[in-house]
Symmetry: C2
Subunit: 195 residues, 2 copies
DNA sequence: GTCTATACCAAGATAGAC
DNA sequence: GTCTATCTTGGTATAGAC
């Protein structure tokens, strides 16, 4: 665990972010000290400042990395032919991507208020871009009569909120398999936006 | 604002809780200091300890008061005759009760991890009791064929998650009236649990 | 690149005067 | 019941040796 000296430029950075990620998710940004993160990594507190100018930048980096990863992964998916299929794809993607990264997800929406205004603005823009991709699906489906919603913006937020709820209770190995959960949520989402 | 002396037993307590409520909601429990709360009330930090044994108890008190209020208010409602009407009542009650108390709601689910294990257990039990009242509605409706859901527990959590989403974006005086929002969400909830 | 040591400040909580 | 003053601890961040 605790090393005494040496040069580890390539691995210490990722280790710091990994430790910060877990600790922030567990205890919250404000409740975690730089000393705690350093102890977890096995270095002294001062060494952290070779990798981040300050604590705030560490948080921002974690949230930015996560959002970029989310957007780029979704963008790489092959686009289905119909709006209904696109919605199904979105539901499956959203549930799986998020369930695989509980710490990142938790931080991404619990620690928004601990970002500086500038950093907050940037993360918010990324989040909105992701929401927009769902709203576009709903708009497309609405146009061709596949969906029937009173307001695509509200429906977008309602669907995402419903899906995010999975993260608060789902645990692998529990009563329900991931496939079952995905199926149930897909049913509810589909019914909520169709006539 | 800043008073200099005197005896204010009856009003200082509530003022402290009100200040703590707002500050915790805005900045997070861990990021708010007792000195900040005291300054907001207009007393010195030491004076707070005449009203709470410590900071943790202050948080617990706020969350407990909120949950008790939620449960007792819902319990006082007249029970509708049908499951469908009961669900409609729940949706309207949930949205309105929560939108009227954004700070309490925000704290109640953002600061759970800052409770001691004992306090956490108590608050969790109250939250579960509230969820159970919705699940009972879904079970009743499922029995008489009014609803069709794959799993009442999952449907309960999905519906609450969807409704809670309103709190993240709705602002009075915005594009949509409260009645409109309630109507839209009721439509989506109803469709999501019926065939 | 990491260490030890430390500057500097603010936190929660308590003591005793009024 | 509130004040002032203070104890003790731990926070972020930096300096300089290795």
């Amino acid at each position: 665990m605790a090393r005494t000296q040496g040069s580890h430029s390539d691995i210490t950075g990722p280790r710091i972010r990994k430790a910060a990620l877990r600790l922030f998710a567990q205890q919250g940004y404000a409740a975690v000290s730089m000393r705690q993160i350093a102890a977890d990594v096995g270095v002294q507190a001062g060494a952290l400042y070779n990798y981040t100018p300050d604590k705030q930048s560490l948080l921002y980096r974690l949230m930015n990395d996560h959002m970029q990863h989310l957007l780029s992964t979704y963008a790489k998916l092959e686009r289905p032919a119909t709006a209904l299929e696109a919605l199904r794809q979105f539901v499956g993607f959203h549930i799986r991507f998020h369930l695989e990264r509980p710490d990142e997800v938790f931080i991404a929406y619990m620690e928004l208020r601990n970002l500086t205004p500038e950093n907050f603005g940037e993360i918010e823009a990324l989040r909105r871009a992701y929401e927009d991709s769902l709203e576009q699906i709903l708009k497309d489906g609405q146009e061709v009569g596949a969906f029937l919603v009173a307001d695509t913006k509200m429906a977008t937020l309602a669907v995402i909120a419903m899906l995010n709820g999975v993260m608060t209770w789902y645990r692998a190995g529990g009563r329900l398999s991931l496939d079952e959960v995905e199926q149930v949520y897909w049913d509810m989402v589909r019914r909520s936006v169709t006539a």
